[in-house]
């Protein structure tokens, strides 16, 4: 898929996916996965504390690089970030699982999810713990799990999440408050 990048094709696929075309979405995901995966690995390979991986920065960078000048701003940006946030989550979890299988200790990859959660998710084990809890939450309340993913992995603002889910800002803030309390409790040592 590495050479499929054609901005126009990607833009039409994204627009179709935004309008609910599942086929188009299925075509984009592997491409986005590869893009984000390659960038994440390149950063983590540097293995230096100075190069802590910031997933939200990667997602925004992908937006600017792939579609920033191609897409109408008003809604597609939000959609792109929403899709990417979930892809970013997959990239990080897969990476953490792979490392866990290889039983490599010591040189932990550093991932920084900073969302004022009062929790630091800086190591593979944290990424995996967060993933377990997120999956649990997705069963109880899929919407709250999506909000968390968009905020944590996509760095989306409350307004952007509200637009993406077609809900009011107030509703998102309320759901976000409960989801965070729930996560904090579940991840508390």
């Amino acid at each position: 898929m590495g050479d499929m990048y054609d901005p126009e094709a990607l833009t039409s696929l994204l627009l179709a996916a935004r309008d609910g075309d599942a086929q188009a979405e299925a075509e984009i995901l592997p491409f986005l996965y590869e893009q984000l995966h390659d960038r994440a690995m390149a950063i983590m390979r540097r293995e230096s504390p100075a190069h802590t991986l910031q997933p939200t920065a990667l997602v925004h960078e992908a937006y600017m690089r792939l579609v920033g000048s191609e897409m109408p701003e008003w809604q597609s940006r939000t959609h792109f970030l929403a899709v990417c946030s979930n892809v970013m989550r997959r990239v990080l979890v897969d990476h953490a699982r792979r490392r866990a299988r290889q039983k490599r200790g010591g040189d932990q990859s550093r991932v920084s999810l900073e969302v004022g959660l009062g929790l630091s998710v800086t190591h593979d084990a944290d990424v995996l713990a967060l993933e377990d809890v997120l999956e649990e939450l997705a069963v109880l309340n899929p919407r709250q799990a999506r909000i968390i993913v968009m905020r944590f992995f996509g760095g989306m603002s409350v307004e952007e999440v509200a637009e993406s889910l077609g809900l009011s800002r107030r509703t998102i803030e309320a759901e976000w408050t409960l989801a965070k309390a729930w996560l904090r409790r579940a991840l508390a040592p």
């Binding site: 920065a57 701003e73 008003w74 309340n141 803030e173 408050t177 965070k180 309390a181 729930w182 904090r184």
Partner: protein, 369 residues
Amino acid sequence: MSPERYEQVRAIFMEACGLVPAELAPFLDQACGDDEALRQEVVSLLAHVETGDVIEPRPPAADPLRLEGVELDGRYRVESYVTSGGFSHVYRGRHLAWDLPVAIKLLKQSLPAAERAVLQDSFVREGALQVQLSRRTPAIVQAYDLGTWSTPRGEAITYTVMEWLEGRALATAIAEDPRRWPLDEVIATLGPVATALGVAHAQGIAHRDLKPDNIFVCADGPARLLDFGIAKLAAEYSRGFDATSALRSPFTAAYAAPEQADRRFGVSGPATDVHGLALVCCELLAGQRPYTGETGTDLLRQAVDPQRRPTPRALGVVVTDAVEAVFAAALALHPAARPQDAGTFWRALEAAARTPDPPKKRRWLRLRG
């Protein structure tokens, strides 16, 4: 826990969040009844809410970059914060040597680093484009200078210096004084904007986001066209109008042209601005937005609806046949069917405004016969 149970917890939690501490216990007594486990669950979750969790809408910062009173490169003094857009902050300042008020626009620093690097480049190009265009017409806000300010923290912030305008955005004028504008007033007010667009079109540049927010009605002097945008410039500046270009730019759904809502109608270009200018005229004539809707999708659906071209008559405005025809052409679904640049559209509109309808009598005869 089951999803049903979580839903129960959720409903009580949401209500409890809005209560003052004294109200909490009585509320929980009533809401949870003798379901002690439910109550414990809610209380335990409430205990994990932190003060910063409920995000209050932040009031606009008085001086987001802490720039007031600062001298930029020894040439300008920043006087006061004015406003912020999506990518930049605007301050009022003074040209020290000439003692002239200026507007200073600075790229926001709060954007993610990767995004900022791309915007930085576009910001510089926007300034260059503005200089290129504004020296050809007073109807485009005049750009004076471009500079870089090093903050005390060692960051470099790029800024553009522009003429200071007294007046208000057309959007503000509409909001503060909603009314139906007479055609003559619309033509007199927006004439300079048509001229400005004509200048841009002649240079191979389209604005693509024409709306009342981007038109500034000046207290003294002609209305000005503002904001050639940032993100949309990066590619356009060098490419001009390439018919094969896949370039899509940021636009505003409420003022979208059909080709911006759906690419099947073609690529955007000068005819997009003709549509936008016609739409703004119709809004002023009708005293209401041509497209209304809750969501961007609603608005864009109307933009491509062949049954719903927002001409003056469709909006309930009485105009002559000639004027209606000019707007019908300018608002055509397909860009190729419109006047191809702002100058052509505007000359047709001015001519139509001087053309009276044929005498009414003949219509009566036709209707009866």
